[in-house]
């Protein structure tokens, strides 16, 4: 009874509620008799309190919402009922066809119908989809941008865009960072005095805002030679006879020197004496095998004879074992006296010599002067050498600097006019050698190409067949 009563209470709290399921309408038959239990424990509360009615009611509410999209009780009558006017008369055929066509075109596909959500309840909205992530941060950024814009600072993206637009209008591609060999490089006044830096130099250096000062020693040139060395007057395209001859002589000297060196090398490499032929090598190999025994014996004897004296000499050479006798007192005294006498003699001699030097004063003077002169000469020579070395190519690497060949045209090669002149030598090479000569770069050899893997040569079959 109590359950029914309670149910009624629920129903009563919902005035005008129309249940969809029939069993909610006061189905009392199922109601069991209530068991009396102490509900002083949570377990009992859970177990013995009956909440079916509420759940059923809520289920029904949900069902109604699902099936009809709202509570039936709240629906207007029009949506629940219709006035029955009897069956409609069917229209004429053409119209029917049209409608069929229309319906066909408008009617959704069956598959779509199946896939359509069965429930009338709208799917809950995804809150996250509507929430902006980092909204706060972005709001702050926007505020800052607005503040900057008020000052007149254009953000980088905007600036780049403007640049691109400007480039599009002028049709000149704007590159942010052109290379240094760009032919359109805009040059400017590099040496104009800019605004002097006022900040602390130490701070600037530490924060790498200021470059490290270049040591002034680096601005010294490693050679005193001029950048462009002018060729001898004999190398004019239409030279004066004698200067041309001079140049030819110079070139000739170089050539002769080279030839001499080559000849020397050849001489050194030449084989001395006879060259081994097949016969001689054979003889050498066979030597001793064919010879008669007597000779062998003789030789052996000789060898033994030779060996013996050698051994003897070795023995004598090994130890000069001269055991010295002990000196007597007398001998020692005598030796000492002799030694002292010698020393005295020496001292006396020195005194005399010194006295004699007084008479040699002139020659000594001359000697001194001579020596001084020699040192002076040496000093000047050294200075001159040092001076000359400044213009010499130094040894900067594994290879020595090779002076390039003189550019010379022989007398019959000289052109009659500027038009028929055939230029001699290459300026590129001349420049390169000049860099080497001025010690700007070290002389190098072109790296040789080394094949790591051996190449296998095979004949193609077609080729073989023809052969």
């Amino acid at each position: 009874m109590a359950a029914a009563r309670r149910h009624k209470r629920v129903a009563a709290s919902q005035p005008g509620f129309l249940p969809l399921k029939a069993d909610l309408d006061g189905n009392i038959a199922d109601i069991k008799r209530r068991k009396r239990v102490n509900k002083n424990r949570k377990k009992n509360w859970n177990k013995y309190s009956d909440i079916h009615d509420v759940e059923d009611f809520l289920d029904d509410v949900r069902l109604q919402e699902r099936a009809t999209g709202g509570l039936i009780s709240e629906k207007p009558d029009d949506s629940l009922f219709f006035v029955d006017l009897g069956e409609k008369e069917k229209d004429t055929r053409p119209q029917e066809e049209e409608t069929v066509k229309k319906s066909r075109s408008s009617k959704p596909l069956r598959i779509d119908l199946i896939l359509r959500p069965a429930s009338h309840i709208q799917a809950p909205k995804n809150i996250l989809a509507f929430q902006q992530p980092n909204a706060k941060k972005q709001r702050r950024i926007a505020e800052k941008a607005a503040k900057l814009a008020a000052i007149g600072v254009v953000p980088r993206r905007e600036r780049l865009l403007q640049l691109r637009r400007a480039a599009a209008t002028t049709r000149v591609p704007v590159k942010e960072n052109p290379a240094c060999n760009n032919p359109q490089t805009p040059f400017y006044d590099l040496w104009s005095a800019g605004t002097p830096e006022t900040a602390d130099p130490y701070y600037l250096e530490q924060t790498k805002k200021k470059r490290v000062r270049r040591p002034s020693k680096l601005n010294e040139k490693p050679s005193v030679l001029p950048a462009v060395e002018i060729i001898a007057p004999g190398a004019s395209y239409n030279p004066d006879f004698f200067s041309h001859q001079e140049l030819l002589r110079e070139a000739h000297k170089v050539e002769v020197k080279k030839l001499k060196e080559e000849e020397k090398l050849q001489r050194q490499l030449a084989v001395n004496g006879e060259i081994a032929t097949e016969e001689s090598t054979f003889n050498e190999q066979v030597e001793g095998l064919i010879e008669e025994e007597e000779e062998e014996e003789e030789e052996e004897e000789e060898e033994t004879e030779q060996k013996q004296p050698e051994e003897e000499t070795e023995d004598t050479a090994v130890g000069p074992s001269a055991t010295q006798k002990k000196k007597t007192e007398k001998q020692r005294k005598k030796e000492k006296a002799e030694r002292i006498k010698e020393l005295q003699k020496k001292a006396e001699r020195q005194v005399i010599d010194r006295r004699q030097q007084l008479f040699q004063l002139r020659s000594i003077h001359a000697n001194l002067k001579k020596q001084e002169q020699v040192t002076k000469m040496r000093r000047t020579q050294r200075k001159a050498n040092q001076e000359a070395e400044k213009s010499m190519p130094r040894r900067l690497g594994r290879l020595k600097f090779q002076t390039p060949d003189l550019d010379v045209q022989l007398s019959d090669e000289l052109p009659g006019s500027l038009r028929s002149l055939k230029p001699e030598g290459s300026i590129l090479k001349d420049r390169f050698k000049s860099f080497q000569k001025r010690n700007l770069i070290e002389p190098r050899e072109r790296a040789k190409f080394k094949r790591r893997i051996k190449v296998k040569y095979t004949e193609k079959r077609a080729f073989r067949e023809i052969k």
């Binding site: 006044d189 060729i231 190398a235 594994r398 001349d430 010690n439």
Partner: protein, 577 residues
């Protein structure tokens, strides 16, 4: 004595030097990049004085750098760029390998590049420093600008070099600072005086290239990279000093636009302007229109003794320079198509002449062959079909020789088909007692204003007299007339005056000089007498050396004379035959 024993190779030169490989590792760069960096920063290898001390007892030749230099290199921001470039190459290779073409394109667009402005500023703190070192960059730029675009170096580099060299030539033309030219078998040597600095450079002949294989192109390209940047900044500054617009613009744009119609035959629109610039036939636009040139007078300061002599010499040189600058003023040249156009146009414009060439030869010709006002026609072939009577047909060497001689040389020796006099090097400066070729002597005489002695052969050439000589002779005649007039006047006054007169004392200039000379000679003799024995010996030695030199020179001259005579007789024989 106490103290720890010093270890070997832990101080002194052993620690002052660093080998190339160690330096490379310290900078963590590849060898090529290291070499590039060293060239750009101007750090060169150094030969230690005592190799044994540096190389731990071994004397094997190696490449050393000073450790301090390498430490300085560590601060260079370009090192970072090199590393970036390395990464770029790696990425590009990877993208290629995978065939990601869009990736390749993107990478290409963002190719790392570096600028050398700060290095130039660092290496050349002032403009004059840069100008002093511009010789190298000039030679390199002129060389690279003549390269074919065949992939030996970047096309962009060639274009930049061409642009810069044209700018330079235009500057030299406008400032008229060219002083010497020498046509050698290797190339053309030029010398100019720019802002007091003597600058020499070499330009290759056109189409003269064979690419030598024993030259490291990478090194040369690196040098060019540096030198183009330097050169550009120098050019800018030079243009500024002359108030010229930079980048250079041709004067009179109206004319340029008028002629643009026919220029399409030569070049694309984009290139035609630079081509016209490189034609060197038009003058450049200035920031401020040219004022009437004022003849600036040098300030005169009272000077004494040596200073005076120096001053006089300087003034004389200045005058000569001025004369040289306006050597071809008012002359009109026409270049035949076989003559080297660029070099000749450059020279003629440098000396103030006007120049043109055949329209089909190159862009920028200003007048035609048929122009009646042309004074010199430069031809480099044995004969010309149609000759105009009112102009000289001369060979190109005349222009070069005239510049070197600082005067208009007589034209006869340079006519068509005539064997040219030798082209002497203007860079040779003979000291006293050296052998001077007779051609040079003749030239010197001409420069002094003396007329060359007439020889038998020159009589043949005399039929064609040149205007200059006539003018000169006219001037001489005028002077003579004036002298005569004054003499006559004097005679008249003499006749009228009283027999008693006070004659002014004559100044015996010659006698005085003679006396001075005698005095000097006497002094010298006395000085020699007073010399110590050793000094006298030295003096005699020196004098002997001088005499020997003179003797040698005389011998050479005699030889030359004999040679000339022999050749003359040969010629005569040939003529007779």
């Amino acid at each position: 004595m106490g103290g720890l024993q010093k270890k070997k190779y832990e101080s002194g030169s052993a620690t002052n030097y660093i080998t190339r490989n160690r330096a490379r590792k310290k900078l963590s760069l590849s060898l090529a990049d290291f070499r590039r960096l060293c060239i750009l920063k101007g750090i060169y290898p150094h030969e230690p004085k005592h190799k044994k001390k540096v190389n731990k007892g071994s004397t094997a030749p190696r490449t050393y750098y000073l450790l301090k230099d390498i430490r300085f290199l560590l601060h260079e921001p370009i090192v970072g760029k090199f590393r970036e470039y390395k990464i770029f190459v790696r990425k590009l290779r990877k993208a290629y390998g995978k065939g990601e073409w869009s990736g390749v394109e993107r990478l290409r667009e963002n190719k790392p590049a570096y600028k050398l402005d700060h290095i130039i500023k660092e290496r050349y703190p002032t403009f004059i420093d840069a100008l002093r070192d511009v010789d190298d960059s000039l030679s390199m730029c002129f060389l690279f600008s003549t390269f074919a675009r065949t992939g030996k170096c970047h096309v962009q580099t060639i274009q930049l070099c061409r642009r810069l060299s044209v700018e330079w030539m235009n500057y030299i033309i406008t400032s008229r600072s060219l002083t010497k030219v020498f046509l050698s078998i290797k190339g053309i040597y030029y010398q100019a005086e720019v802002l007091g600095q003597t600058i020499t450079w070499i330009v290759p002949y056109q189409f003269a290239h064979n690419h030598p294989t024993d030259v490291d192109y990478r090194v040369m390209a690196t040098f060019t990279e540096l030198y183009t940047t330097l050169f550009g900044f120098v050019n800018f500054r030079l243009y500024q000093t002359l108030n010229l617009v930079y980048p250079p613009k041709l004067d009179g744009p109206g004319e340029a636009s008028l002629r643009s119609g026919c220029d399409e035959d030569y070049a694309l629109d984009s290139e035609s302007y630079s081509e016209k610039l490189s034609a060197l036939s038009a003058s450049l636009a200035r920031m401020v229109p040219v004022m009437e040139e004022e003849e600036t007078q040098l300030d005169h300061f009272p000077a004494e003794g040596e200073d005076l002599e120096k001053m006089e010499a300087r003034e004389k040189a200045e005058l000569e320079r001025d004369a040289q600058k306006n050597l071809f003023e008012g002359l009109k040249f026409f270049l035949n198509r076989e003559a080297p156009r660029e070099s000749l146009a450059f020279l003629i414009r440098c000396l103030g002449g006007q120049v043109s060439w055949d329209k089909s030869l190159c862009i920028g010709s200003t007048y035609d062959v048929t122009d009646e006002t042309i004074t010199h026609h430069i031809v480099d072939r044995p004969n010309v079909d149609k000759q105009y009577i009112n102009r000289y047909y001369i060979q190109p060497q005349w222009v070069y020789d005239s510049l070197n001689a600082k005067m208009l040389l007589p034209v006869e020796e340079y006519f068509l088909g005539v064997t040219l006099p030798p082209h002497l090097s203007p860079f040779v400066e003979e000291t006293e007692g050296d052998y001077v070729p007779p051609e040079k002597l003749k030239l010197l005489a001409l420069q002094r204003g003396e007329k060359p002695q007439e020889e038998d052969e020159e009589e043949e050439d005399e039929e064609e007299d040149d205007d200059e000589d006539d003018e000169q002779s006219e001037e001489d005649e005028e002077e003579e007339d004036e002298a005569k007039l004054t003499e006559i006047e004097e005679k008249r006054t003499k006749g009228k005056s009283l027999p008693v007169k006070v004659t002014p004392g004559k100044v015996k200039a010659e006698n005085r000089t003679k006396a001075e000379q005698e005095e000097k000679a006497e002094e010298k003799r006395l000085a020699i007498m007073m010399m110590k024995k050793r000094e006298k010996y030295l003096y005699e030695k020196i004098m002997f050396g001088k005499k020997r030199n003179i003797r040698d020179a005389n011998k050479l001259a005699a030889k030359r004379k004999a040679h000339d005579e022999a050749s003359k007789t040969d010629k005569k024989k040939k003529k007779k035959c």
